[in-house]
Each structure stands twice: as C-alpha cells, then as structure tokens.
Symmetry: C2
C-alpha cells in the first residue's frame, strides 16, 4: 500500500504511552515478549489478499497455503527463533469455499508439519469477493538471544544465505507473459514456494556471533537500509558478490533483464540477511555468501568491480 | 460462512499428529500455551471483513476499530485472562487509505488504552475492494487457571454478566430500516460498541468457583451448547430469567419483535456466560444474572413459567 510507513507511524503515535516495558514492538521481524526462564516469545503476523499478493489464476491453492505459512516462518527464522504455534484466519468468497479452501489447507499443513508446528487457532469467515488470509506465528528463543535489526557493528561482514532475485524474476515473468521455459518455471516456483531458513536462522543464532539479522522480503536495497538505520551504521555492498542462480543468469541474458537490479531489489527471496564477523562461515554447515561489510557513517554504497555505482528505480547506472 | 464447522474439522484432520503437548488448541475461546512460572499465555484471533461483519455506510470507522479489538478482548475475558498485547493486520482499498484508516486506528487505540494493552505488531497492505481486518490478542493468566468450556458441573448455576439481545436487536433495526428512536439508537450502539467484560472475567476467575466460561458471540442458544458438549452435561434455562434491557422491552413491544428469541439467539452481546455454584454471586461486586442450571444428561431444555417450551429458528413456541 502506498504510504504504508506513514500509516504505521500514525498508528505508533496513537499508542505512545501504552506500557511496553521490556518489549520489542513494531519495527522488527517479530515482536519479542520475555517469558522468564521459558525464554523469549516472538510473534509475527502477515496478511495476504487476493489480487494484491496472489492471483487464484496463477498460483495453486497449495502454493498460496505454503507461502502464507512460509513468509511468517521466515520472520521467525530471522529472529533466530523456532516456531511453536500458528494461527490462521481466512475469509472465503463462495467460489473458494470448497475445493480451493481444502487445497489451501493441504499446502499450509504440509509446510507446518515439515517443521512440526501445530495450528492452535484462527478464524474462518465468508467474504463478498476476495480471499483474505492472515497468519500469525509464535516462536521461542533463549532469553535475550532474539536477533534484532539493531545489532550491526562496524567491521562486520554482511552475509546472505542463498541466491537473490529468483523470486522477483519469477514474478516479472508471470506479469510480462515470458515464455515458460524450464528455467522460467524454476524462477516462478521460487516465487510461489519460498523456503523459510529456519534451520539456518537457529544455527546462526547459536553461534552467538550474529550482529543484526532480518529476512529479505523487499530486496536487500530496501531491507539492508532497515538494519543500517536501526544500528546507526553504513554499508558497502559489492554487486559482483551477490549470489545469483544459473537460472537467473540465463533468463536475464535471454530476456535482456538486469540481474543486478533483480538481485538487489526485487524482493520475496526470504533468504536471511545478517551481519557477523567473517569467521562465522567456518562455524556452520551450510553455504553463506558475503556481499559486503558494515562501515562507519550511514547509508548504503554499492560497488561494481571495486568502483562505486549508483542505483535507483531504473536499476544500476555508472556515475 | 456456511459449513464453517465442517471446514474447521477438515483443518483439524490435516493437523492430526502434530505435537500439541499440554496445549489447548482449536475449540475454546483462546488457545492456551503454558509458560511455566510465567503462567499461561492465551491467544485469540478474529477476522472482520467489510460487507460481512460491517458496512462502511453504517458503522463509523471508530466503531469498527473499537469492535475489532473488543471482540478479541472478550475472548481473553472469557478465559479469565488479562490481555498483554495485540497484533493488527489491515488490508485497505484506496478509498479507505486516508481518513477512514486513521479514524479506525483512533477507535482501536482508544479501547486498547482503556485496558493498557500495547500494539506490538501487525501488517498493513492494500486491497482491491473490501477492507479486511485481523486482530490477534495475547493474554496471560495464572498457570492452569484458564477457564475452559469443559468445566461445567452438574448442580452449577448458569449465569450471564449482563442484558442479552440488545446487539442483535440493533442489527435487526439497521437491516429492517426501523425508525431511529433514542431506544433504537441505543440498541444499535450496543451492536457497534460492545464492552468486553475483562474486569468481570478476571474477578470471576480469581474466585476459583467458575466451572466453565465463554463469551456470548452467537447467542446463548448456540453458545451454551458448546459448554454442554465440552463438559458432557445438560442444562435447563428459564426464559423468564434472561436479563433484557428496558430499551429492548420497549422496542420489541413497539415493533412486535420476539424479545426471547433475540435474547436467546441473536448473538454479539459479548457478555460472559459461565457456570458456578450459586454463592459466587456473594463474592463479586458487579451484577450476575442466573438464567438456569446444569443438569445430568445432554442438551438444552428451555422453560417459560416453569413449563418446557420449544425453540427453533422461528423463535419460541409452546409444545
């Protein structure tokens, strides 16, 4: 929604003065609620609306169900936490109340079971026209160990956990009616079925080395700025270092798309973006991709072949 | 939605086998998640969709905001718990993104502040056509003290905390275009601005005498059956004892409406419905209304003037 952040500020202003002792509220991937020796509870919620977040003509019901859970699990992963319960609200117009709804549940239940997370409540209701879905997920992490956006330290390396741009390229292909080669289908599947980095988030958290962490929902060009602002630091990111899949490389070559722009700003990759000392890569058993470093100051500086490069809505352009 | 309970069963079936140790899941007013010495966490969530739950032409934005929070607070009250945080997701079509959204927040924030409950997260997004709102509320109660629907005991008195039928009569007046006398306006305001019985729920819980408790959302004719089934007991309810407001009495006389049918089945009163030994009335400082008693067996028997009376969709009819 246009002006989303302005509206959130309006909301926050109206809640000024309501007690939030020890609580991390609006502004991180999850809220954090301390529960003494039981650790910290983290909570996240996301709403998906037909016509805005998905089209019933493009995504299967199972894919919508998968993604509705996955994007919330990704927020829990970004705190270094483990999901312990989900809550599903769904508003269904008449033509989605039979098979569509049941297949949606199949997808939602499959990924929930994969991570052993029970569904503990929710709400089902009718809707005049569009499907609307809200998922809330509760997770748990050791006391004080939730990984926030505000912990980046100067000198830290900036990492991501996997290739960037696939999901955005898949969406672009759907919107532009790109020919459905096997590689294009792969990119589209990455858009419909993101895999939350829950194991990776936990493993990174237990190293004790991570400074700041979040998941990549809007693209690193936007998401990394949240970490920089919350931490009061700047960053330098090398475009040459952004991990991209062979499929993205090929499709970008064939279609004349800007792979750097897709990798940096297309969003919905749901990989983890975090900062830590470089040696963290020696402590985990999954690939990490260093893409830059945290520096003093503020703002995000892009480099290509060692030289600064400008980035705006049109993509990357040499100065 | 038609077939709501069938769909919920379908969902439950798909989650069979996912660990829920010590957890109360789908089927009570809130889920209950034990947190050791921190007590039990209760969680509830409700979705409101334009055209189904409210009309922007009938309710002010402030009223919609109030009600969205109030109906969830009522679920927390029904567990004998105290709300500690809310989470608000809202999907807004373009014509609701300015003033409507801000006034909605005013109403939501006002009732939240009244109970000192912080907003800790949520989601804002666009919508093609209809406003969709999801509110999640987390509450807390002493370990093992959450009041479930399954605790009714034979011999208990059945109580409600306030007058029944006002909200349903207000809705009926709006739908039928009833002349807006001051008394009709009062009933409509009871529909738009229900008051969650949070203080009453806590006070009742701390007596230690309550058997089963829930809030009245569908009308006692429907809601009490949930308690009876969950507890494996029956009930006798005296229509003469149902508390009704003077406004409802007058409007029903003037319009020829069945006050018993409204009080028993119109719903959305959000008073508390509970079972307890009769002496509980001597332990609290707010009015309680005994409406019947829990008996052995199953099912709900209605009485009027001491004689059994039949109730169906057409209202109450003598055998």
């Amino acid at each position: 929604m246009k002006g989303e952040f302005g509206f959130i500020d309006y909301i926050k202003k109206h809640f000024a003065g309501v007690a939030e002792s020890n609580l991390v509220g609006i502004g991180d991937d999850c809220a954090v609620i301390p529960m003494g020796e039981q650790g910290d509870i983290v909570v996240t919620t996301d709403m998906l609306v037909e016509g805005v977040h998905f089209l019933r003509s493009e995504a299967t019901p199972e894919q919508v169900g998968h993604k509705a859970a996955a994007v919330n699990f990704s927020d829990v992963a970004a705190m270094g936490a483990t999901p312990i319960a989900t809550f599903l609200s769904i508003a269904l117009p008449k033509d989605a109340q039979g098979e569509w709804a049941e297949r949606f549940v199949e997808g939602y239940a499959a990924i929930s079971k994969q991570w052993g997370v029970p569904l503990l409540g929710g709400d089902t209701t009718g809707s005049l026209r569009d499907v609307a879905i809200n998922v809330g997920v509760m997770g748990r992490v050791e006391s004080g160990r939730a990984l926030l956006r505000s912990g980046a330290r100067v000198g830290d390396t900036i990492f991501v956990t996997g290739p960037l741009g696939d999901s955005g390229a898949g969406l672009k292909a759907m919107l532009e009616g790109t020919e459905r080669t096997a590689e294009v289908e792969y990119l589209i599947s990455r858009h419909h079925c993101p895999m939350p980095r829950l194991s990776e988030g936990r493993a990174l958290g237990t190293t004790g080395l991570v400074g700041a962490m979040m998941d990549i929902s809007d693209g690193i060009a936007s998401d990394l700025r949240h970490i920089l602002r919350a931490s009061g630091v700047g960053a330098v990111v090398d475009l040459d270092l952004l991990p991209v899949s062979a499929q993205l490389e090929h499709v970008c070559s064939a279609e004349g798309w800007d792979k750097f722009a897709l990798a940096a700003s297309a969003g919905e990759d749901f990989e983890l973006l975090f900062t830590a000392p470089a040696e963290i890569a020696t402590l985990v058993d999954f690939p990490l991709y260093p893409i830059g470093r945290i520096v003093e100051g503020e703002g995000l500086e892009w480099r290509l072949g060692g030289a600064p490069i400008a980035f705006d809505k049109q993509g990357f352009t040499h100065f």
